[in-house]
Amino acid sequence: MSALWPVLWPLLTATVMGLLWRHPVWHRWIGVGACFAHVFIAVHLMGEANGRGPVVTTLGGWKPPFGIVFVADRLGAAMVLVTAVIGFAIALSSVRGIDARREAFGYHPLVQTLLGGVCGAFLTGDFFNLYVWFEVMLVSSFVLLALGGERRQMAGALHYVSYNLVASATFLIGMGTLYGSIGTLNMADVAQRLPQANPAVAAVVVGLLTVAFGVKAAVFPLFTWLPASYHTPPTLVSALFAGLLTKVGVYALIRTTTLLGPDSAPWLPGVLVVVAVLSMGFGVLGAVAQDDFRRVLSLHIVSQIGYMLFGLALMTPLALAGAVYYVLHHILVKTNLFLIGGLAKRMCGTERLAGMGGLYRRSPGLSLLFLVPALSLAGLPPLSGFWAKLFVVRAGIEADAWAGVAVALACGLLTLFSMLKLWNEAFWKPAPQEPTEPLWTARRKWMAVPVALLAIGTVGFGLFAGPLFAFSERVAEELLRPETYVQAVLGGSK
């Protein structure tokens, strides 16, 4: 039952909020309380998965590979834990940060449904349910994206919906092929049986799944929906999306690559390296060219996803551990940057960099809070981003992937440049017009609390890089020996 709770809990919360539909103000505090509890549920699961190996929960008394199964190995549990932390930060921020109209249309229950979908995607043990949780996540994100009905939101939502529905159809076709050829969709079972199937069919399956997950993860040729949509909704929604949604795609890529890759698709790592390098480069170049706070940050997501994929593609224990550490660090940092972007937008009245300025003089505290995640993203020691990049780059050197290493280092410099541009434009340069209203209203102070919490988390992630990396190595070890996973699922549950 324990691998199911992190999924059921947010859905239960959303249901309770739905029953209290007419009292959106209550939703805020129910959300905060539920997300706080969710963190503990996730910690508990983490403890179990880390101590005793993969936690397997079956549904309805059907044993794998026939029934629905939830599996929490170290990777899944760690992702759920970070998701819960982000959920808590967003819920805390949402207490004061969302307008009454969006609240009345169900903002809070939608956030909970989204969290449920994300956790479901991290914990599910078969491909079809992965599709279902993707859709749960997508439908709630569609609504969150379009909620409010501003003109540019509509444009963003249409891009996002079209791209993601095409990806879902691709995923479905891949699953149809998979089911038609080997008659199972349970991940562990597929890992065992796909190598015996026709290699051409296996290649088609893995290829289709990779394309579908690539769209969700926003990798190089498939990322265009992300910069088209992420800057349109309220900042809190952007922050939630930026932290979690693309990482679900990355998680799915990690899972399929490690579970199916080595036996069924030996060509996959080669493709991934190219995709990763191109994502790093194009993402960061796009970001450098932008002059809007959130658009800069959105394109950096693409670039950072490239680093994670680079680690994944090398498939050595060090590289994989680096990729896992990178994912976990990036979720915290990216959410935080978007939250700060939201605060800066409120303070300057605009997100265009040309219209911003003077924040350092008016609030050194906020500037410091910006510098922590920004420099971490750029990879300055001793912050978490430095270690993340170091592990991935070192793995690249060990694997003699020099081109990738060169691009990774160059992109690190460009990321630093881009972060300094944000710093110069929004914080350092004098404000274009003299501000009239006070900077810190009660609402903004409240919204700075989750920012500060996440910044402390980022610093902690950097300071305790040693133990965290040791954990990532254990995750990588588990991922590189899929037998453990398969054994846990198929060899008698409980």
Binding site: M1, L4, L8, L11, L12, A14, T15, V16, M17, G18, L19, W21, R22, P24, T57, T58, L59, G60, G61, A100, R101, A104, F105, G106
Partner: protein, 159 residues
Amino acid sequence: MRSLILSVGARAVSPLLLVFSFHCLLRGHNEPGGGFIGGLVAGSAVALWVLADGVERFTVQAVPGGEGQTVRSGSSALRGGMVDPVTVMSVGLLTMLASGFVGLALGREDFLTGAWWTVNTPLGSAKLGTPLLFDLGVYFVVVGVVVAFVFELSQEAPQ
């Protein structure tokens, strides 16, 4: 555009559709039917009503500052005494989740494990189980979703 024929017809057909939807729900375990189909049929009964009589039958157009205005749905609010579709959805979801816990509470191993009882009535015995409860939840969720979307789509844009 209002049609008298459709309006009168809907009055006769909609209750029948609701009864039929319940029939679909109950036969669903062993034969074609089930919560989703039943919910769709029931939802279409409401949709028919809305098509025939207009959505004003169910909602109050909000006049700025006027009576019946809530922040709930921008342009309109439900008439007094009507159950909100979102409430129906939530009750359905809660029923589905609850049906999953019944098995657990009775000492079964897994979430959603079915538990069955035989009920004897003067008309014969029937087997009732948690899958029916689950289907009932699905039924409510689908009805709620359909009705919510029908209301949303039939609202005219506020000028």
